[in-house]
Symmetry: C2
Subunit: 191 residues, 2 copies
């Protein structure tokens, strides 16, 4: 998606050759106009698949997912990251390793909100090693729901999360895939 | 807001006389149509105040805030709850006590994304003892920004967070205020 690539090129930064910072428009300060364009694009890609629910993970996936959900006219379910008092029993749980926080994290989704009649689109803001998305894919499987696709805003193509998911035959689309950085410039994969 | 009150009356539940569960439409499964109606209502209330930024806290405030931001045409900044590798120095930090998680939590906002020229609307999904909102109010003050108002989806009127904020002269509007439960039915404060 051209507008997203241009925004990353203009405002994105690389730290330690590993972390891509896009927190000026995607995951700290959120540009809702850009998110709307992304939501429309997800709908263009996945709109014919009869999606009944969008699944994401807290926290930064939520913004991308709820804006996109407006175009699909379906509810969003977001996986919670820790057991709070407000979540009762009857949970799907999947443990992942968070490279962002450098620790194990458990995703929890109440069985009430995802079931075997659901056709699920997973949406997340970032895909790198793919741990977060793998946790969400696990939860879709536990629910006996159908995984219709995965929509990601920014994929780090130089890590192997996307590759692993595509090799499983999953319909994964990332709106911008960064394959590397040359002379301080982002190299995007051709669409 | 009538539609929100009706939804709480229909689907909300009380646990241990303390926790109000609205996770079927607000903070686990998210009904984006209802959130749009809430966003329009926030804009009706605060739309003339020249808001330049909406501030919320991860995780469940994000959905309410980004949908509302579409009507204000301003970006959202969400406070992060822990220091991840992806946030650099230059932070506003405010420590709160989270009754949801029963522990201290530090809200962090990058100084890059909130400054003294901002006119801020705080939006959150819940207001009970007011700790989360207090943390956000602190951050607005640290930034030297102007606090124009606070919009909350659901306020527990039987806890004192709302009262404390109103006594400070803050323009706080909650779309539904639950004053108590009688015979298993929610009692809403008159609008």
């Amino acid at each position: 998606m051209k507008a997203l690539q241009e925004r990353i090129a203009k405002e994105g930064r690389i730290i330690d050759g590993r972390i891509i910072k896009v927190d000026g428009f995607l995951n700290h300060r959120v540009d809702v106009e850009l998110l709307n364009d992304m939501g429309k694009e997800f709908h263009r890609i996945f709109g014919e698949k009869g999606i009944t629910k969008i699944l994401t993970a807290e926290a930064s996936g939520i913004a991308v997912a709820v804006i996109a959900a407006q175009y699909f006219h379906v509810p969003v379910v977001f996986a919670k990251k820790a057991k709070s008092d407000n979540i009762e029993g009857g949970l799907y749980a999947s443990e992942i390793f968070s490279y962002t926080y450098n620790k194990k994290v458990t995703f929890l989704v109440s069985k009430q909100w995802l079931g075997s009649d659901d056709k699920v689109l997973i949406i997340d803001d970032f895909l790198a090693n793919g741990e977060a998305v793998r946790g969400l894919v696990d939860i879709v499987a536990m629910a006996g729901a159908e995984l219709c696709g995965i929509g990601v805003a920014v994929e780090k193509g130089f890590q192997d999360g996307g590759k692993k998911l595509r090799e499983q035959g999953i319909d994964l689309h990332s709106l911008a895939i960064i394959d590397g950085v040359v002379d301080g410039k982002f190299i995007f994969r051709e669409e």
